[in-house]
Assembly symmetry: C2
Homo-oligomer: 152 residues x 2
Amino acid sequence: MLRGLPEQWITATEGPGTWSPYVVIGHLIHGEKTDWVPRLMIILDHGPDHPFEPFDRKAQFRDSQGKSMSELLDEFSQRRADNLERLRTFDLQPAQLELTGTHPALGRVTLRQLLATWTASDLGHILQVSRVMAKRYKDDVGPWAQYLSVMR
Amino acid sequence: MLRGLPEQWITATEGPGTWSPYVVIGHLIHGEKTDWVPRLMIILDHGPDHPFEPFDRKAQFRDSQGKSMSELLDEFSQRRADNLERLRTFDLQPAQLELTGTHPALGRVTLRQLLATWTASDLGHILQVSRVMAKRYKDDVGPWAQYLSVMR
């Protein structure tokens, strides 16, 4: 969806302090590195006594520096594939989905909730990127804007 | 994004009267058949004196009957490819983008606005499908729901 798009698309935002598609992909990479599978392993290895590391929501502003969108997409794609392979290797059984961990802010969470959040987070970011890119067309669509709920 | 998903994903809605991903794809097919390129040709061939046909927002409930999601995705993909090929064949020049047509409800619109709406509509439907699927996870994500704006 984002591969090969012109610069104006991937750097578009919804205003100051909001994230462009480029920033979102950096955020997703940081999630692959520090969030989903690393937290899953903390649950499996330590359970609730070992709280997760807090997630750095600004890491991508540092880590993406100097990288092209194409490089970020390659990195995300590779890290995601590796993590899904690791997930398959764990061969999680139903009882393990109820194992718990401790989120630094949210408290007790289950492995099942962690995996559901991984998926829901993906969908939320697809939604976000679509919204950011659609809004660029707010003026361009003329009178059709009133039929497009995304423009409101 | 939607290929090969289990039935529960593609038939999920946001409540009575809202559209599932399956319904959205049927709607997109109807757009390829009757909206974007046909309206573009009305502008090129007749200009504003020949209003567009009103778009049938319920056509997919009739036309998708008996078809699997996989069949709908194949049909959409083929029709879209054909329409993009036709669009290239027109070899539209900048001046032609300012040609006008008459929308049955919105009145005077330009060819440029029609093309922008085609793209914005795609992005709006990607957003919609992501939101519908993410909301299925509202309970499953447990306390993480408060971090996921899509759940609100």
